[in-house]
Structure formats: structure tokens, C-alpha cells
């Protein structure tokens, strides 16, 4: 395409100035070792849509990328809420959030992605361990909204380490809070009861809890049980928004994608228009074949297998893994 007018003249920037960046507008202590963050778009736009079970990548100013479940209200299109547990051995990531992050700071965000979607059912059993309560909070709100029958079993080390007890208080009898130092280990068989066709089990928490759940729910059909394993590791391959080199295979030209521009904007400035639509990594229109290099995926579309394949990316939001360069089929 020969149309190389600067992209802002085409009105894109005004619509999606800030895909991938959010401002920390509130930091709140939610429990011992748990900080709640409220994130908003820096210019007050809507943030990308999400559904219960979704998580975002949070790219912190220290360069670490961590995944956190969204635990706010999606009817508020302008803010996300996440809750961050301080991990004992953490140097970056959670420690940075607890010690160094301040209200007003900018952070990078990727996604939201959802590997833990709430499927329709007449009845839900929710099991949360510690910070694993976060993806379940919006699920519970949704089950309540739909008038579904539901119960939550919520375990943690101590009562003071368990976040959102006040919010859960309004649900009364449906919620059972069982801190380990008061009630011992969760009695999962008693909570689950006999398998029921109309019921889906959602559980999130540390590995021992999910292992125990797998045992307790062994007699349930596998499609009835949905879990999200807590991955308490700092991703090393995620990137902050650094600049990187990109080669356009069809012309052989190499360009630099600056820190504050998207791949889509950078290639458009070089005279190559890639058809796109949502510019939020959700619609899939701008899918581009990756010939060489590892993309830092920030979209909401590809699942883990797709990402593993590494053969395509969505240049409206995704970038290159730091230190790598990309060759795209453009």
C-alpha cells in the first residue's frame, strides 16, 4: 500500500491510544501479604472486555511480567482489579508490587486471556485456596446474577491472610470460610458430595489443594471439574516495552519498533498497512505469520498451545521477547 500518512492522521490513536498500558489508581491492603490494585486506562478509555476466570499479564516497571486473575466488576468497563500475594522467595514481581509500586505508576498489561472460563450450569461448587479466591470472586458474582445454586469453600493459612472476606460476607450461608489454623485441612469429599449432572466444580489454589481436589472429585465426570493451577513463578520470557528490530520478509527491510509504538504502527509508518480492527488483541483480524523470532504475546486470542507453536502473532498488541528480533511475513 502506498498510503503512508502518519497513523495518527487516520484517527487510530484517538481510539486506542493506550492499548497495553494502564495506570495504577489505587493500592489497597486486602489481607496479610495481599495487595489489591485497581488499574485504569491512562486516558480514561474502556479497557478490553473480559469474563470471569480471565487473567492479565502485568508488566511491571522493574521488567518482570506476572499473571494475575481479574477480580473486579466487568460492568465497570474502565477499571481492572487484581490482588497480589507476596511470595516469600520473590525478588521481582510480587515483591515489587508490595514494596515499590505506587499509585499513579504506569504498568504494561497484556490480555485479558481466559483459560478458566465459567461454563453455563444450574449449580456450581467453588473451592478456593488462599489467593486462589481471585478468579472465583467474579464467578461467584455471576452465579449470583444468574440465580444459579452455588457454594464456596474457602481455605487459607489463617483468617487474616484470607482476602475479600468482607466482600464474601454478604453471601451468608453459601460461603464457608475455613482457615487451616482454626479448622484444619478442607474436607473436600463432604463439600463435593455425590456427583451431580447439573453441577460444575471450579477450583483455584496451591498445588496440594488441587491434588486433593482431583482425588476427591475422581468419581465426577472430567468435564464437570475445572481448575486453575496457581503458577507462582516469574515469567522470564515476558517483556517490558523495549524497542526491537523487525524485518519485513517480503521487502527484506528492517525497521525498529520503538518503545511507545505498536508493531502495527511501526510497519504502517514503513508503508505496510496490515488490516486490523479492534486494536486490542481480541478480534483476530491482524493475525500475521511469524517466520523467525519469539513473539511476546499480549493478545486475548491464542491459547497456550497456539502460543507454543509460535508461528503467528497479533501485531496490534504483541511484541518481541526482549533481546529477540522478529521476521514477519509482511
Amino acid at each position: 500500500m502506498s498510503n503512508v500518512a502518519p497513523i495518527h492522521q487516520r484517527g487510530h490513536v484517538a481510539e486506542q491510544a493506550s492499548a497495553g498500558t494502564a495506570r495504577v489508581t489505587e493500592i489497597r491492603r486486602e489481607a496479610d501479604g495481599v495487595m489489591g490494585l485497581v488499574l485504569t486506562d491512562p486516558v480514561g478509555d474502556r479497557l478490553p472486555d473480559w469474563a470471569p476466570g480471565a487473567h492479565i499479564d502485568l508488566v511491571l516497571p522493574d521488567g518482570t511480567t506476572r499473571q494475575y486473575s481479574l477480580c473486579g466488576d466487568r460492568w465497570d468497563a474502565h477499571s481492572y482489579r487484581v490482588a497480589v500475594l507476596r511470595e516469600p522467595s520473590s525478588r521481582g514481581g510480587s515483591a515489587f508490587v508490595h514494596d515499590s509500586l505506587r499509585e499513579g505508576d504506569l504498568v504494561g498489561i497484556g490480555g485479558p486471556r481466559n483459560n478458566f472460563a465459567l461454563v453455563p450450569a444450574a449449580r456450581y461448587l467453588f473451592v478456593a485456596g488462599g489467593i486462589g479466591i481471585t478468579p472465583l470472586l467474579p464467578m461467584i458474582a455471576q452465579a449470583e446474577l444468574l440465580g444459579a445454586d452455588w457454594n464456596l469453600l474457602y481455605g487459607g493459612r489463617t483468617r487474616t491472610s484470607m482476602a475479600f472476606l468482607d466482600e464474601l460476607g454478604r453471601y451468608g450461608e453459601r460461603v464457608r470460610v475455613e482457615p487451616q489454623d482454626e479448622s484444619g485441612l478442607l474436607d473436600l469429599p463432604a463439600f463435593l458430595g455425590e456427583p451431580r449432572e447439573d453441577t460444575r466444580i471450579y477450583a483455584c489454589g496451591p498445588a496440594p489443594l488441587l491434588d486433593a481436589l482431583a482425588t476427591a472429585a475422581a468419581c465426577w465426570p472430567s468435564s464437570s471439574v475445572r481448575t486453575e493451577r496457581f503458577v507462582a513463578r516469574d515469567r522470564s520470557d515476558g517483556g517490558s516495552d523495549t524497542s526491537f528490530e523487525l524485518t519485513l520478509a517480503r521487502s527484506g527491510r528492517t525497521i525498529v519498533v520503538g518503545r511507545s509504538e505498536t508493531v502495527l504502527e511501526a510497519v504502517a509508518a514503513a508503508g505496510v498497512d496490515v488490516l486490523s480492527s479492534c486494536r486490542q488483541g481480541t478480534c483476530g483480524t491482524c493475525e500475521t505469520t511469524v517466520l523467525v523470532g519469539r513473539p511476546d504475546h499480549r493478545d486475548s486470542i491464542l491459547d497456550d498451545d497456539d502460543r507454543q507453536a509460535g508461528d503467528c502473532m497479533f501485531p496490534c498488541v504483541s511484541r518481541a521477547v526482549p533481546g529477540d528480533r522478529l521476521v514477519l511475513d509482511l
Partner: protein, 406 residues
């Protein structure tokens, strides 16, 4: 029906669903955009948006402008829909989540890769057949012979419905899209067959009727996995049959008409068809906007464009007008131009309800245009084209074209 708050917006009394406007909506679109960011439509006593900024804002704001009360003029809060509401088009979160998630995965660009080679070969075979009689020049009706023939050749197979009765797909879609408008003569004309067509369509959604390897079977497989409920599966299959045929046909007609009437753009396209086919189709979708309008219903009092839309009131979004708004597209917004980046047009909608089949439509267009580019040196109108009137769709009944073979 009348509410005093509506009076703040300038009133336009032209009926956007009268035959004259349906035949050529462009003058009314100009008038609506010029009147202001929010316009009061006197004929229906509702507020409407025709500028890009407000149309886009309303499309993405599912919290404020809901779909579950119907995306046509009829308000499902007070009026009985003529068919069971769609689980996608006429649903809001949270009910909308699971059906959308399942269908989006089945129709994702990644999933469609397996169809690509077949569809390109099918397009070549169709073009070959259409051009078979001619040596240098062939005259065809591009609506029936290409724009209808190609989707009807590949899409019902991809869904996995039986051969028999496929001639019902286009009339069903035509009536469905008419029914989003007021109950005018177009709706009345379709009503005699509506029940029968709806029955036929529903019957194609049953598991035992569907081929084991199509989109339809994949929807049922999602129910096996528990991702949707079993009673949701047939309605999700129905969405494919309702929204996947007519819209694509009119999108293809639009791009063929555009290229036939803009010879310099055809030349430009033919220089690098592989790169330009997708842009050509999306530019045609922007320029022609096969889906012209959709309605939403305000879930609370909403400030937009300096006006208040009262809770419970319908709004009308002129997608076609937004796609030609010079505030967004520049002074040449009315021009079909392959040099333009059409990204961000609202011809497929925007936000959580954005056309879930958009990648299917693009793939069909890419296959057909690529096949034509190989065989056709240039094309031109052979006789005046004829519009087909529909309350929602902008479409052609007949597009006589003369193809000069390469």
C-alpha cells in the same frame, strides 16, 4: 412512547426504512451526520447515531447499550420476538459468554487454516465454470453466478448441513434481516413463508442431521465437553445459518460491484492480488456496509454526544453512515480506494458482538477475488445493476458484468 428528553436532539422525519432510502441511503446518511452527533428520528421517536465516534462508542458499550432487548426496532422487553432470540446476537453477558467463546474458537483464523486450500480450489473451479463459455469476453450476473454461488458452494458444507433445502438459506436470511426493521411491506411480504423457513432452519441444527466434521458438529462437541449446554447447541448452529450466508453474499457483491465500477482499483488489485484481496474486501465492506443498521437498548440513562438516552429506549446505529464519516475517513470517505487502510470500520460491528464470522467472510472473499484476478484482465458493468431492498442489508439483486479474460 414520546419522552421529553428526546426533544434535545435535532429531529429528522425521513423514514430510514422507506423504499427510497433503502434504495439509496447515502443522502440520508449525509443529512444525519450533518444534523449532529445524536439525531431524533421523528418517524419512530427514537434517537440515532450516524457519526463514527458515537456509533463506535455505542457498539462497544455493551454495559450501557444492551442487545438482549433485541437488535431491531422491536423491544423484547415489551414485544414478543418472532423467533426464539439468538444466543449471540440477541444476548448480553453473562448469557452471551459461553456461546460466543465456543463459536469464536471454531471460526478463528487458526481454525480456518484447514479450509483455506479447499476454498481456494473451490473458487478456482467456480470461476473456471463461469468463464467456460467464453474465449475473450463473458457476460454474467455477478450476484447469482459468483456472490451467491460461492458462499452457497462452500459455507453450508463447512457447517455440515444436508444438500436438500439449501435454497431456503437466502430467503430465511432475507426475512430475518428485514425483521429488524419496522413491520413495513418488506416484512409483510416475508411473513407468509417465515414460519416454514424458520422450521426448516431449526431442523438443520439437529445433531443427527449435521455432518460429523463441520462447524455444526464442533458446536455439538462443545456441548459434550460441557462448554455450553446441550439445549444451546442448536441455537448456536442456527446463528451460523442466519448470519453466515446473506451477509457474505452482499459483501461479495459489494466488492465485485466496487471493482467493476473502479477500473483503476481493479488494476491496482491485480498487480498484487495476494496482498490486496483482504484490503479490497474490507474497503468494500466499509464503502458499501452490507449491514447498514442495528439497534440497541439503553440499560440506564446514558450521556452520549452531549445528549441523554433514557433508560429502556431504543437507539439506532447507522453503521453505513459511520463508515463514510469524513471526520474519521477524511474528505474522500465516499471513495472506494485500495490505498486506504480500512481498519477500524464498523461494517462488522465492534466489541463483544463484532461479527464472529468475519474471518470466514474474509477467507471466502480472498479465495474468490484471487481466482478472478488470475483469469480476468478487467471487468465492467454490462447493464445497470438492480438493488434488492432489505430493512437491514444493503444489497444487489442483479449485477450484470462483462468480464474480459486475461
Amino acid at each position: 412512547m414520546s419522552a421529553p428528553t428526546l426533544g434535545y436532539a435535532p429531529t429528522i422525519d425521513v423514514d430510514p426504512f422507506c423504499d427510497e432510502v433503502l434504495a439509496d441511503p447515502i443522502p440520508l446518511q449525509r443529512q444525519l451526520r450533518a444534523a449532529g452527533p445524536v439525531v431524533h428520528l421523528g418517524s419512530y421517536d427514537i434517537l440515532a447515531f450516524a457519526r463514527y465516534e458515537q456509533v463506535r462508542a455505542a457498539l462497544v458499550d455493551w454495559q450501557g447499550f444492551q442487545s438482549a432487548a433485541g437488535v431491531g426496532l422491536a423491544n423484547f422487553r415489551t414485544e414478543q420476538p418472532w423467533r426464539p432470540p439468538s444466543l449471540l446476537l440477541e444476548a448480553d453477558p453473562p448469557h452471551h459468554d459461553a456461546p460466543r467463546r465456543v463459536l469464536q474458537k471454531i471460526l478463528s483464523p487458526r481454525a480456518l487454516r484447514t479450509l483455506r486450500d479447499d476454498w481456494f480450489a473451490d473458487a478456482e473451479a467456480l470461476v473456471e465454470k463461469v468463464l467456460a463459455d467464453g474465449t475473450h469476453i463473458v457476460e454474467i450476473d455477478a450476484v447469482t453466478e459468483l456472490a451467491e454461488a460461492f458462499p452457497l458452494r462452500v459455507f453450508p458444507d463447512a457447517v455440515g448441513i444436508p444438500q436438500q433445502g439449501r435454497e431456503n438459506l437466502l430467503p430465511y436470511g432475507d426475512h430475518l434481516f428485514n425483521s429488524f426493521g419496522p413491520r413495513n411491506h418488506l416484512v409483510e411480504a416475508g411473513e407468509s413463508r417465515a414460519g416454514e423457513l424458520q422450521e426448516w432452519t431449526s431442523a438443520q441444527c439437529r445433531r443427527d442431521v449435521l455432518a460429523p466434521d463441520g462447524f455444526g458438529a464442533e458446536i455439538w462437541a462443545a456441548a459434550d465437553r460441557g462448554d455450553i449446554l446441550f439445549d444451546q447447541a442448536p441455537l448456536i448452529v442456527r446463528s451460523l445459518l442466519s448470519a453466515g450466508v446473506d451477509t457474505t453474499v452482499h459483501g461479495l457483491s459489494a466488492v465485485l460491484h466496487a471493482l467493476a465500477t473502479h477500473p483503476e482499483q481493479w488494476s491496482r488489485f491485480r498487480e498484487a492480488p495476494a496482498a490486496a484481496a483482504r484490503v479490497a474486501f474490507d474497503e468494500a465492506v466499509r464503502w458499501e456496509s452490507p449491514v447498514q443498521v442495528f439497534f440497541r437498548t439503553a440499560t440506564r440513562d446514558i450521556e452520549i454526544g452531549g445528549r441523554t438516552v433514557p433508560e429502556g429506549h431504543k437507539i439506532l446505529m447507522f453503521l453505513g453512515a459511520a463508515n463514510r464519516d469524513d471526520r474519521r475517513w477524511g474528505a474522500d470517505a465516499d471513495r472506494f480506494d485500495l490505498g486506504r487502510d480500512p481498519s477500524g470500520h464498523v461494517g462488522f460491528g465492534m466489541g463483544i458482538h463484532q461479527c464472529v464470522g468475519q474471518h470466514v467472510a474474509r477467507l471466502e472473499a480472498e479465495a474468490l477475488l484471487t481466482a478472478l484476478a488470475r483469469r480476468v484482465e478487467h471487468l465492467e458493468p454490462a447493464a445497470p445493476p438492480r438493488r434488492h431492498l432489505n430493512n437491514t442489508l444493503r444489497s444487489w439483486d442483479s449485477l450484470p458484468l462483462r468480464l474480459h479474460l486475461a
